[in-house]
Structures are given as structure tokens and as C-alpha cells.
Amino acid sequence: MNWKSLLRHETFLALLLVVVLIVLSFQSDRFFTVSNLLNQGRLMTEIGLIAIAMTFVIATGGIDLSVGSILGLTAILTGVFWQNVGLPLPVAAVAAIAVGTFAGFVNGLIITRFTVPPLIATLATLALYRGLAEGISQARSVRGYPDWFYVLGQGEVLGVPTQLWILAAAAIIASIILAYTRWGRTVYAIGSNEVASRFSGLSVEKTKLALYTASGFAAALAGVIFVSRVSTTRSDMGTGIELDAITAVVLGGTSIFGGRGTIAGTMIGLCLIQALKNGLSLAGVKGDGTIMLIGAVLILAILASNLFERSGTR
């Protein structure tokens, strides 16, 4: 049964997360504190936003490697629009997000109109968008934003980091869309069998176009939050974030071949990675050791859930 096996992976992952949390809180008494956990939420927001959109994209059997570059491009444009063009900062940020969203739309166009496989299309735009960020910025940073802007990335609302509200809202909305709406159904249908979806009158192209656009939007929004969090723009922002997001999505049980995956899984995967990064660091493990362990967890988690599934169905 499809949904049962899916549930099994997420349950397993959630259990793993609980075990990891328990073990880590024994390692360091500073780990399992409200302030630390909230703070970790702040740090994982950008990856989280991108991973949510990426879950949809991967569930259709696609992939978007250009998100890191879109993040960088948006960051740069926020600064350039504000400082060089002279737009008011909110307008500049919205305009930059619009461009980032458009970059995602272009990905979608290349993929749907020219039927270029998503991996190749976004591999090309990965280079292109990063290049644009570099060219437009001339490698200059833009700094010195007004203080109110930092509320987004460094401030708190009701005691919780501002961007965590955004991430939580995005996660809830996205999981409702994926699980309960016809858009979500269309996503799974495309991921399982694109041809049959088309033959069933589903708008495959429009859906894909919308998803890559949404992925661009998520990356762009993450870009602005990132700028607000680190108070500066640089054209190399977000380099390699695509792999982090994909890792969270895949760890969360979304099939890389499409057709299955949930936002809950992605969020658990994301939390697991962040908890490992933070907890191990608090427990005195160095960054390089943490990377190794996350790699091993990724392989072992998928291996374990594969084994579960097989023993269940045979």
C-alpha cells in the first residue's frame, strides 16, 4: 500500500529524530533549550523554504539545481535596486523577489516549452543566474540597511524568530496544498506518470511551470531573508544550498523518481539535519565530523526504510 509505506518512512524518521534529540540533549545540557531550538529554526529557514518548494518539484520527478543561484541573484538585486537604483527598500525587495520568481519561471519555460530535462536546464541556469549576480554586482557588496529591515532576519515576533513564522506558515500551507488539494494531486500524478496525467486532461505543463516558478519564488524569498539575517549582499550567497535542500527532501522520504513525498517528511528531514549539525557541534564534534555523519545518516535512513518496506511487502 502506497500511503502506508510512505507513512512508515516518516514515522521511522520522526522516531530517529526523537532518538537523536534525546541522545544529543544528554551530550550537552545547552542543546535542548527553547532558545537554542528557536535559534536553530532561524538558521534553517532559508534551506527550509527552498526544500518545501523542492519537495513539489522532486515529487513531479523533476529537480531544480538553480535555487542557490536564484538566491544569490535576488540578494544582489535587493541591494542594487535599493542602493544603485534608489528604490525604497520594501519596493526593492519586492522587485528583487519578482525577478527571482521570474528566473524560476524561465526555468519552467525551458523545461516545458523546449522539453529540456530539468536537471540539464537548471544546471545551465545555475551557471547563468550566478553569473548574472556576479555581473550585476560587479562583485560589490551592498551594506548598511536600515534597522527595521533586520527584523525579518534577526528579529523576533512573540518570542519566536520572525522568519520561523514564515517557514511555519509556508510549511503548513504547502502540506495542505500537497495533501488535500487538486494541485497536490496533480503533482503526484505527474510524478507517477506524466503521460497518463496529460491523457487525463491534467494541465501538466502549466503545473510544472507553476512549480518551477514557485521554486524560484521560494529561493528569492529565502534570498531576502538571508540578506536581512546577515546584513549584507554578496553574489556568492547561497552557493551549494541546492544540495542541502535536496538532502533534506530526499531524507524526508520524497522519491527522487517522483510520485511520492510529503512536506512533513521534508520538515522532519530538515530538522534532523539541523539537530545533528547543532547538537554534534555542542557535543564537541567538529564541522567535518558532522558532515560525515550527516552523509552516513542519509544513506542509512534510506537504506533502513527500504528494508522496512521490503519486509512489509514480501
Binding site: N39, E134, R140, T239, S281, K286, G287
Partner: protein, 369 residues
Amino acid sequence: MRNRVLSALLALSFSTSLSHAQSAAWTGGDDLPTNPLACDATPATAAAKPYDGGSPTNAPDRKGKTLKVVDVPKLVGIGYFNATSKGIADAAKEIGTIDAKTDGPSKANIDDQITLIDNYITSGVDGILFAANDPVAIAPVLKKALAAGINVVGYDANSTPDARQWFVNQAEFNGIAKAMVDSMAKETGEDGAFAIVTSTFTTPNQARWIAEMAAYQAKCHPKMKWLETVEAQEDNILSFNQTNTLLNKYGDELKGVFGMTSVATPAAADAVTQAKKCGKVAVVGLATPNAMKPYVAADCVKSVVLWNPVDLGYAAAHVLRAVADGTLAPGATSVKAGKLGDLSVINGSEILLGAPTVFSKDNINNFDF
């Protein structure tokens, strides 16, 4: 179809390059104000400036107590930061009351570095030593550390001053620029043409050096000709290929290559060596001596500019100790740094390591880092 696309692209690239050629500044520099030194050896007269660093909130009295210190360089896994890390370890051993460890991102990535520092703040260290990947981006997390009562000292790459207490300046940007350009002028003559191989244009230190070099060259060696700057990441094969391409493009016109990173400089030297242009094309650059020994020994590279990164780490650890003990307080004019003796305070809250060292065939074998 295809040809049209290509020619359109090429036309585009020409036009962008033309529009760029009109600006006089070197590619790769930043747009902050420059302050070139005098052409002769006159030392810069430093204007006295009040302390502009930050201070930790409610820091406990750490005098004489063992400090738990974490050193977060830009990235781990390169020779330069291995050397600073070694210096910190040496100092810790010598002082005895510092428990230091180095942990950094595996790529020079601002976000990873911020996350790491954040984790260490939570885990409760007494002191943080850092080399910033971005001066502004790192500021919020450092301020958070100060607010948590942690002593924060920078080295190698600064943050905004109010985000840390002190910064150990290995050599001022204009000092490095002078040493580099003077060395190049000596080797290629006053009218030589040269090119630059850097890591990425977004790396702040490199951008600052390039900007200062441009200003100094314009002031003191006006006839030298800057050809272009190329990016080569932190990738030595790419640096090698880029240098080769420059050699091929300019032929005999190219008289010198600046390597702006400890990765680019040996690769550039290797390119010149393998092109059998030793002596015809000068390589001047920032690099660690160990990586440069073969080229210096073969007389292919005459001068390598670098401060001693082991000393830099060593000084940083001493400064941190002094800050924690309260012996280095705002307004001080110098600080004792073990075997390095007294180091002077400049620019309000910076501690100067000294003039950069120019390594040559005579002294390079005295260094091992």
C-alpha cells in the same frame, strides 16, 4: 540558427567588455576609499583614533582562569589557516590557560561560518577567535557573542569594529599593496605589464588589496600597465590554467603575474615554470613559504609576500588572553604578545602584527608553514 546564437552572444560579450574598459579601476577591487602609502619607506602617520571596538556584556571575571576558546577561520583545509591554527595552539601551550580548538566551514561560505559560531556561542565558550568571510555578514552573530559575555577577537579578516573587541591586523592593506607592487616593479621594471590571478571577486581581503594596489601603482609606479584580473576560485588547477591562458594571450607583453591567494600563487608559479618563462615573467604574490619553496629554489619566483601566519595566530591567542585578563583594555596603546614582544595598537581597536615579510631564496628555508 546556432551561429546566430553564438555571434549574438559574442557581440554581447564584446559590448559588455567595452563598456567595462572605460572604467579605470582594476577589476576585482572594491569601492572603499584607498589610502596608498608613500612611495619611499616613510611610515604612515597613524592618526590616533579612540577605541571603536565592542565590549562583552556582563563578562565574568576570567582573570587567570582557563579559557575555553574556539578558533573559527574562513575555512579549514588550507595551508594558511593550518598555520594560524598552529600559532594559536603554540600560544595556548605556552600560556597554559587556554584550551583552544579550531573548527571552520569546509568551504569559505558565510552561512556555514555563522552557523558554526552560533553553535559555539550556545555551547558556552569563553572566547572566540575568527577570520571573517564577510565583515558585515558575520557582525550580527559576533554581537550576539559579545552580548553573551564572550570575548571576541578577530584576525586575518576583520568584521565591522563594533562586532568584536580587537582585531589582530597581520599587515595593513596598503602595506601589503606597497610590498607587492614594489616587488613587481623591481622585477619587471617601471613600465612592465602584469595581470592578476585572484580567488573570487567577492573575497573581501583580496578585493581590498587589489584596490589598494591599484591606488599605489597609480601613485608610485604610473607607467606600469595592468592588463586584467582573472578569477580562479580556491582551485589550484584552475589557477594554473588561467595563468597559462594569460601567458598565451599576451605572449611577451606579459611581464608579471600577481597571485592574490596562497592557492593561486604557487599555481601561477608552476604555470610560468612549465611554460619555461622563468625570469621572463615574474610571479609575485601572497603565499605560504612551504608551497613556494620549489619555485623560489628554482629562481622562478623571487619574492613571496606574506606575514607569518603562525605568528598571526600566536598573537591573536595572546590578545585574547590579555583581553580576558583585562590587561588589554580600551585606550591601551600596546599589548604584550609573548615572544613577539610588544605589539602596537592602531586604528582604535586593531593590533598590528608588523610589516609583511617578503620571503626570498635567502630566508625561505627558515620558515616551515
